[in-house]
């Protein structure tokens, strides 16, 4: 099983490698897809899995939604589609972490401090990516929140929310009161944070933000890899987290927009001049 996971991870690496030049790019994408199929097939053989019906239903629903929306989307709407797919990935991490925490909480699964740490990290990063991607999608589709939306003390609000999430996380980690409520609150705060982080950013910088959130989701996936002691999740997650970060920097420099200016756009102390 671990060997097949290694093989899948190898295919991911080779796939990304082939994506570096236009001639081999399509075969690279296919290689990565084969790797994914191997990893998923092997996972289904895991003896911990008992309920196949639910899996079948879930995968069927997800496949139909994913395939139909991917085929129907016009070429011009590609960035928001990537944002949507990235968002659901981040959301999946958060829901996995919430489910695992509940299992540990009711004593069905043994879990130590490290597990709770990875649960909290997964919820925090995954939810920020989920909510942030949703806002990116909404902005690019020009449904609402177009342009840069700011409000006074935005930076303070963001920092305050992050601080609250960290405190609640420490509470859950140290075995303080109401651990289940704390973890759910971390989830809600992280969702709000994801919204607040992306609303000030204008539509032109959105692809860069999506790339950054893509790296976030990768990192979040690696966190669930630690939580579930699953090698392929750790490898693929770290791979995407790292390559996504580099890609974000490449994109922002090729567009001539420094990264920190985009992320803190409009949030700075000085009001925009124009």
């Amino acid at each position: 099983m671990t060997l097949s996971y290694m093989f899948a991870a190898l295919l991911f690496i080779l796939g990304v490698r082939r994506l570096r030049s236009p001639e081999t790019a399509r075969s690279g994408n296919s290689l990565a897809a084969i790797g994914m199929a191997i990893a998923l097939g092997v996972t289904l053989l895991d003896q911990r899995i008992v309920s196949y019906w639910e899996i079948l239903v879930g995968v069927a629903i997800g496949s139909v939604i994913g395939y139909v929306s991917a085929v129907r989307v016009p070429m011009t709407a590609m960035p928001q589609m990537v944002a949507a797919f990235n968002g659901v990935g981040g959301g999946a991490v958060a829901f996995i972490a919430l489910a695992e925490f509940y299992q540990i909480h009711i004593g069905q699964v043994a879990g130590d401090r490290a597990d709770v740490f990875f649960i909290l990290a997964g919820i925090l990063i995954g939810s920020v990516s989920f909510a942030g991607s949703a806002i990116a999608y909404v902005k690019l589709e020009e449904l609402f929140l177009a342009g840069s939306v700011t409000f006074p003390y935005q930076k303070v609000a963001n920092a305050g929310l992050l601080g609250a999430a960290v405190l609640l996380g420490i509470n859950a980690l140290a075995g303080g009161p109401l651990p289940l409520l704390s973890v759910w609150l971390v989830f809600l705060i992280a969702l709000t944070l994801g919204v607040l982080l992306v609303i000030p950013i204008g539509g032109a910088d959105m692809p860069i933000v999506i790339s950054l959130l893509n790296a976030f989701t990768g990192l979040a996936a690696a966190m669930s890899g630690f939580l579930l002691s699953n090698e392929v999740l750790i490898i693929a997650g770290a791979l995407v987290g790292a390559s996504g970060t580099i890609l974000t920097r490449l994109m922002s420099s090729s567009l001539g927009r420094p990264l920190n200016k985009i992320i803190f756009a409009g949030v700075g102390a000085s009001p925009p001049a124009a």
């Binding site: 991911f12 639910e54 994913g66 590609m78 579930l228 490898i235």
Partner: protein
Amino acid sequence: MDQQLLLEIIIFVLAAVIGFELISRVPSLLHTPLMSATNAIHGIILVGALLVLGASESLLTTVLGMIAVIFATINVVGGFVVTNRMLEMFKREPQKKRRVRRVRRRV
């Protein structure tokens, strides 16, 4: 720190180094497809979602696991299909150019 976690951290760091090394000097034409492909690859979270839903014994974890499986499947399927469509689009142009060059050489 237990041995298992230590090994996992080593795997994480090595994979991250590979990730950093892989994406260097990529033509900007390929930035968006690369983003889309790595987006599909983190759909690997479906592995985790399957494990959680498959082993679930309570209603809450079944619901959460089900949402996670649906979300992650959308990520995987949609991610790869969209990447393929993107690559299909700009694949045709270079081929045409090449053919033109070949013809010119013959002339």
